[in-house]
Symmetry: C2
Subunit: 213 residues, 2 copies
Amino acid sequence: MTATREPLSRERVLNAALALADAGGTDALTMRRLGQELGVEAMSLYRHVANKDAVLAGIVDQVISEITLPPPSDGWKAAMRSRGVAAHQALIRHPWAPALLMSRTNTGPAMLRYIDYTLGVLREAGFSWRLTDYAWNTMDSYIYGFTLRKLNFPIAQPDYADVASAHVHLLAGGGFPYMAEMTRHVMAGNHPGDPDLTFGLDLILDGLERLRG
Amino acid sequence: MTATREPLSRERVLNAALALADAGGTDALTMRRLGQELGVEAMSLYRHVANKDAVLAGIVDQVISEITLPPPSDGWKAAMRSRGVAAHQALIRHPWAPALLMSRTNTGPAMLRYIDYTLGVLREAGFSWRLTDYAWNTMDSYIYGFTLRKLNFPIAQPDYADVASAHVHLLAGGGFPYMAEMTRHVMAGNHPGDPDLTFGLDLILDGLERLRG
DNA sequence: GCTGTAAGCTTACGACGTAAGCAAGAGTGC
DNA sequence: GCACTCTTGCTTACGTCGTAAGCTTACAGC
């Protein structure tokens, strides 16, 4: 009289893995817990997935697939700008993702699509192959770097007050006058502690525009 | 008649940890192996170090301390440029470091010194606090992001031929025309596969110069 | 019914970080 | 010389991890 449960599948495994990572970060994603979440023993997962690394690759690609790619007809600059913002937003929605994304070689279908789109927009806008490669690399280095940094910046975290007070004694020592003053400015509200992606992105895009001629 | 061995110390532990990470990456750095390297049991390390996380924080700060900071008298732009290059080089010397650097909140003495230096150069060059913060954030997001990306880019690895041939079938499918063509250009030697830090860095610095007015 | 194949289960191994308590030696005060 | 404390390193053990090897069960096609 037991209802025959839905059989496992690579897709079901990856969905559960994504949910687990979203809920508790990479640490919460273990094969045992993943099995538990699916009502199955850990070893059963290996019928549908080569190993844990494949799971990680799968969920990273899933996140990349969430990046909405604007139509190239918007013009290369606008397209690259909103592509960058969309990537940043998708990654922020899954805070565990950037570290994974940047510390592995990713060749999932969504990633390849995403790269090909980017190269295509730049090429069609008249950038040389060399400049296209450099431009792509520069933008993505910045976007991913910025996102990862932001996620680990104490200021962006709810326990900012704790962190700040824990470090105040370091700054008070007098060895780091500029940091101390900067902290004072941020705490006084003169200046947003939360960094802004578009500042640097626009800097890069304007520079690329000038190089394109 | 056994020679009394050199007693452990936080410094000796960190030095050995750094050597271990340099030799085999983060995975090779375990408390047991670290003890073994020092001729000591793993648990003995805990007398000199709070836990493994403290070890990681220690060696990351060690790497940061290797970044040579140019004299601010060179002018802010030249100083920021060679600071960036120096940071990149130091991180490349310790390929395991960028991932660690970017996935934790770092408040070691070398890191604080490094940040304070950067803020100081920008402030003394006349940047507002707001612009100083944005500039610092943009530069470092790019530098770290670029370095981490480069380390995980298959092209930078000795097994590039393998990696390329393993992915050729994906490109050959026709779904990714621009990537395919780019790969062809790189393989034909028309274009360096190895990315260049200074391209993006100069883009950013030129943009900052314009903003400073 | 028989048999082949797939899906999930069981057990087990060798890592890992580290908590708790023990042992042995080095100073120190008398 | 002797007890005392403090420091340093060692022993043992626990719970967790990824996953190799082999087993069981259920169903499909004949």
